[in-house]
């Protein structure tokens, strides 16, 4: 309906490639490519027309190209039956794709210095972000972490796009042994960073957000909460997020996010309903109720 909202398409697969531990699928989807802004994701129906797998699978959009009117690429690791099915697609197969979904990364107006931190496949949305930042004259530095070398994401293109690219692996099989946060302070200092962008597992994001706060840097984080619909309908993807009015609400990662301001997400309380969240059992006991009008549903970011 709205011109920059998501669209649903039956998109032909252009290519399916292996990239280290990942699979990359490119689909022809001009309307998605045209609307896309970095940080947004798409969702794919899996299992075919008579699939017993009802729910769509969400994936970050990794690349968008103008070929064939507009193509969109996503990368994924085989994890369960849905991704296993996707890995078996061949070119010309049709995929049911919805996108672009979610709020994009906010881009700075000025050419500032940006450190981009990614964990595992969570690095995917940072690549189009890096390009967008570069187009605005920003300096980009990468810190990419993974469990092992083959899960480090697109090391070569990271090196190509960024001023510097630092890699960490849990087992030391590539780059520095350790976590992305171990390298973060040095990289932000060297780069004279003005802002941190991060995407990856929730625990990593929590550590990055905390580190950024310590370094007094603003952080934009893109969360990967399990999603059943990806379109804001089902309320399955909630995370506790502090709104501008100071109240914590259970925000939907798919439409209120996936990008939030780092300090707004209550990472320690993810997977719980904080006792002081709006509408938690007994929340009234301690708080002044926010005015009805003032209550923003989209409190995030």
């Amino acid at each position: 309906m709205s011109d920059n909202g998501p669209v649903q398409t039956r998109s032909p697969v252009l290519t399916v490639r292996r990239v280290d531990a990942y699979h990359a699928i490119t689909v022809v989807a001009p309307q998605i490519a045209e609307r896309f802004r970095s940080g947004q994701f798409l969702s794919v129906g899996v299992g075919g027309e008579h699939s017993s797998m009802l729910l769509r699978r969400p994936f970050a959009i990794h690349d968008v190209k103008p070929d064939y009117g507009g193509t969109v690429e996503f990368l994924f690791a085989v994890r369960g039956p849905g991704t296993a099915w996707l890995a078996e697609r061949r070119s010309r197969d049709l995929l049911d794709v919805v996108g672009p979904l979610g709020r994009p990364f906010p881009l700075p107006r000025d050419p500032v210095n940006c450190v981009l931190v990614g964990g595992g496949s969570g690095a995917a949305p940072l690549f189009p972000l890096a390009h967008a930042l570069r187009r605005r004259g920003c300096r980009v530095d990468f810190v990419l972490g993974a469990s092992s070398a083959d899960r480090v994401f697109s090391a070569i293109s990271a090196r190509r796009i960024a001023e510097t690219a630092t890699f960490t692996t849990d087992d030391g099989s590539f780059g520095v042994r350790g976590r992305v946060t171990d390298a973060l302070e040095r990289v932000t200092a060297d780069a004279r960073a003005d802002v941190v962008y991060a995407c990856g597992p929730m625990a990593m994001l929590g550590r990055v957000a905390a580190a950024a706060a310590r370094l007094e840097l603003p952080a934009q984080v893109a969360v990967e909460e399990a999603m059943a619909c990806g379109t804001g309908l089902c309320m399955s993807c909630v995370v506790p997020v502090v709104g501008e009015d100071g109240f914590t609400r259970m925000a939907r990662a798919c439409v209120d996010g996936p990008v939030f301001r780092g300090e707004r997400v209550r990472f320690d309380d993810v997977g719980t309903i904080p006792f002081d969240a709006l509408g938690a059992p007994g929340w009234k006991a301690w708080s002044d109720e926010p005015g009805a009008e003032g209550a923003p549903e989209r409190e995030a970011g």
């Binding site: 009802l54 769509r56 399990a226 399955s236 259970m250 009805a292």
Partner: protein, 315 residues
């Protein structure tokens, strides 16, 4: 020859029999990004309570074969915000609003009903008696006919005369037909059936319940035969009572199945998650099926499964 798609639910006439089910259509805004929501017969809103409610912790959902199990716990902004923000928006887009209400007792239900007059844009009140997702463990309203009747009586008493009140029942009530009868006797103008069935998934890695809430509600195409059976048996027992049928509607053929079993309208729930355009697609498919059969009015197929072979409409 386009079939006449209008359908009646007690006093209310809908432009067509395809609705979005409560809790599966957001506030309407989310679906409006994919199609014009004024094209739907109606939209049932997420069950609203008096107060804001944070719901259950995540994980709230797990996929199961042709369905899912969920436990959201009725997260919502409360009636104030609903009346000031969500309902006016829905009306402004031409949506027909079936407002679903949930309470902790007959008084809370009644208070909600009082605040939902036709003038606010309420086309119908749907009484959610049986949400296994709600925080409390007991489901007295849903499981005990006398309790359900108390709630329905309170709502019918408090609601405006012109606003039909439908009671929404779960498929795993001890006896859905009994319960339906009790609700109708207590003044329900019609029935919505079915709500989710209790169920659970175990996480294959941790071997713990997959949902934070432990037991949740099963929905989706998996439950369709159970839901169709409930509608069929209720129609048999209460042939005059209008029913909104739901539970796994995925295609126009599924909608037709519910209509034939005795529903006057159908609601699409979980399938919206899988296919955000599902409601309008299903409406189109249903229309095509009726056309193919040479059916003039959608009402002609309502209850067809109860008529002897040969008396089936169309060819």
């Amino acid at each position: 020859m386009n079939p006449d798609m209008r359908t009646r639910l007690a006093g209310l006439e809908l432009a067509n029999p395809v609705m979005a089910a409560a809790g599966c259509a957001g506030t309407g805004r989310e679906l409006a990004r994919f199609f014009d929501i004024a094209r739907l017969g109606a939209i049932a809103t997420k069950s609203v309570m008096l107060e804001p409610r944070a719901g259950r912790p995540a994980p709230r959902m797990a996929e199961t074969p042709s369905g899912m199990v969920s436990s959201v716990g009725l997260q919502g902004p409360g009636i104030e915000v609903f009346l000031q923000r969500d309902l006016p928006w829905l009306r402004s887009r031409g949506g027909t609003a079936v407002v679903s209400v949930a309470g902790s007792g007959p008084e809370e239900y009644a208070e909600l009903a009082r605040r939902l007059p036709a003038s606010a844009g309420v086309a119908m009140i749907e009484v959610n008696l049986s949400c296994p997702n709600s925080a409390g463990q007991g489901r007295d309203f849903a499981d005990v006919p006398a309790e359900a009747a108390r709630v329905v009586r309170a709502v019918r008493g408090a609601a405006e005369d012109g606003v039909p009140v439908f009671a929404k029942l779960a498929a795993d009530a001890p006896d859905p037909v009994d319960l339906a009868g009790a609700c109708v006797e207590a003044g329900a103008d019609g029935l919505s059936m079915v709500n989710c069935l209790r169920g659970m998934a175990v996480d294959p890695v941790t071997l713990r319940p997959a949902l934070a809430g432990g037991v949740g509600g099963v929905s989706g195409p998996a439950i369709r035969p159970i839901a169709v059976g409930c509608v069929y048996r209720t129609r048999e027992a209460l042939p005059e009572v209008p029913v909104i049928g739901m539970g796994g509607v995925q295609t126009g053929a599924d909608a037709l199945e519910f209509l034939a079993a005795g529903a006057s309208a159908v609601a699409v729930g979980t399938v919206n998650f899988a296919d955000p355009s599902a409601c309008v697609r299903i409406l189109r498919e249903l229309q095509e099926l009726l056309e193919e059969r040479g059916v003039d009015r959608v009402g002609d197929v309502v209850g067809a499964a109860h008529r002897p072979t040969g008396a089936v409409v169309g060819r």
